[in-house]
Amino acid sequence: MPNPQLNSNGELTHLLSIEGLSRDILLHILDTAKSFAGVTEREVKKLPLLRGKLVFNLFFEPSTRTRTTFEIAAKRLSADVLNLNIAASSQTKGETLLDTIDNLAAMHADLFVVRHAQSGAPYLIARHLAPHMHVINAGDGRHAHPTQGLLDMYTIRHYKQDFTRLTVAIVGDVLHSRVARSLIHALTTMGTPEVRVIGPQTLLPTHVEKMGVRVFHDMEEGLKGVDVVMMLRLQNERMRGALLPSAQEFFKTYGLTAEKLALARPDAIVMHPGPMNRGVEIDSSVADGPHSVILPQVTFGIAVRMAVMSIVAGN
């Protein structure tokens, strides 16, 4: 089956998942993002690439950071952007997803940025659209969050340059995390020799080791000698049933404290996709400490989303 993200020339026309993207495409996105980073230092912080294009931010699930950085990215590229908060809109009146899309397409949309609680919703939209329209997945269910994975890669590359000599640890609620999946795919594609996942059995997907990662249940053991620590948010709103005794108990075993971080390499960086639960998965002294690159991640997210939008819109 052909990859639904690529056009007949093998070029990226939708971004739905990092899974199935070649090293060349990932590098093209990261390199392009690097070129965009300098734009923020100029007098006019805009580029004409998407001038006259209409971008719809379709958020069927709430999000502040992702929606805002997509909006800034589209505006930096001179697009017209409309934010639709569908949770509070026509879907509650019974309209189907594809009817909503058809209506927006009839308004001459060029690009849809879609967040949806249902895994696969962006695929459905991409298959439905005419070829000159593009979809970027901004998070679908537990499945994927490719621009977050890419901005994590951009951040790691910014601080550590070479992916092929790194040990990266992803800690916490991997089971409910679309961020973790996207990052694991990207790291393996770029040749990172060791990716570890650290968490309790109940919060790791079954057969997670088939994704090419090493599994640790003991956080102290798993953090030894790592270059990058990626903390995941404890997804309170996604929890069903009693997977954990309590948030306090989780912090004791899997919360990142300065003492635990001391087991990683001295120049290790600490990342978090946000929003953070301070005192649940990460201690404030670490979140605000010298190893933390959590706020730079947000800034890099703009350049990465500019890169993805301009690449898909041009193909």
Partner: protein, 166 residues
């Protein structure tokens, strides 16, 4: 056809530009060939001019047709563009579309006092009202041919011809 020696053309270009440079003039080379030439020109002027580079990929007018160029390099202008006399440097002046993109991009850095254009080769074929202020040589190059500037391992610049679709 016989192509001129690119290094001699750079020297010729420097001779023509030297009397017309003011105290605050800056060179901006268009990547990649223009940036190589700007470096050599600056060396000929004693290495004293502020110098920058532009990648016009984000300002091209054929984005709709061909999408985003691969291997985009960051533009780098380390000086204040506002109020400055700028000489844009490129290798080959052809349709004029690259120069238009470069001027648009420069204005996003600030409002220069003036922009002049220096090119190694003017091959004609303009599609926009663009003219160079300094020209190394004018050449009649057949329409279905690319005129290309390359840099050898020792840093020497070389002009070459490539038929389209070859």
């Amino acid at each position: 056809m016989q192509l001129p020696d690119a290094e001699e053309l750079v020297a010729e270009l420097a001779r023509r530009m030297r009397p017309k440079l003011g105290p605050g003039t800056a060179l901006v080379g268009i990547l990649t060939g223009g940036a190589w030439i700007a470096e050599k020109l600056n060396a000929a002027f004693g290495g004293t001019l502020p110098i920058g580079t532009l990648d016009v990929s984000f300002y091209r007018d054929d984005f709709e047709e061909i999408g985003l160029h691969k291997e985009v390099k960051p533009s780098s202008i380390g000086f204040d563009v506002a109020g400055r006399d700028i000489v844009l440097v490129d290798d080959v002046l052809y349709t004029g579309r690259t120069v238009r993109g470069a001027m648009n991009e420069l204005f996003d850095y600030g409002r220069p006092a003036s922009i002049r254009l220096a090119v190694l080769v003017d091959r004609g074929g303009r599609e926009l009202p663009v003219a160079a202020d300094f020209v190394g040589a004018s050449l009649a190059v057949p329409e279905n041919t690319n005129l290309h500037l390359e840099r050898a391992a020792d840093g020497k610049l070389i002009l070459s011809l490539h038929p389209h679709n070859a």
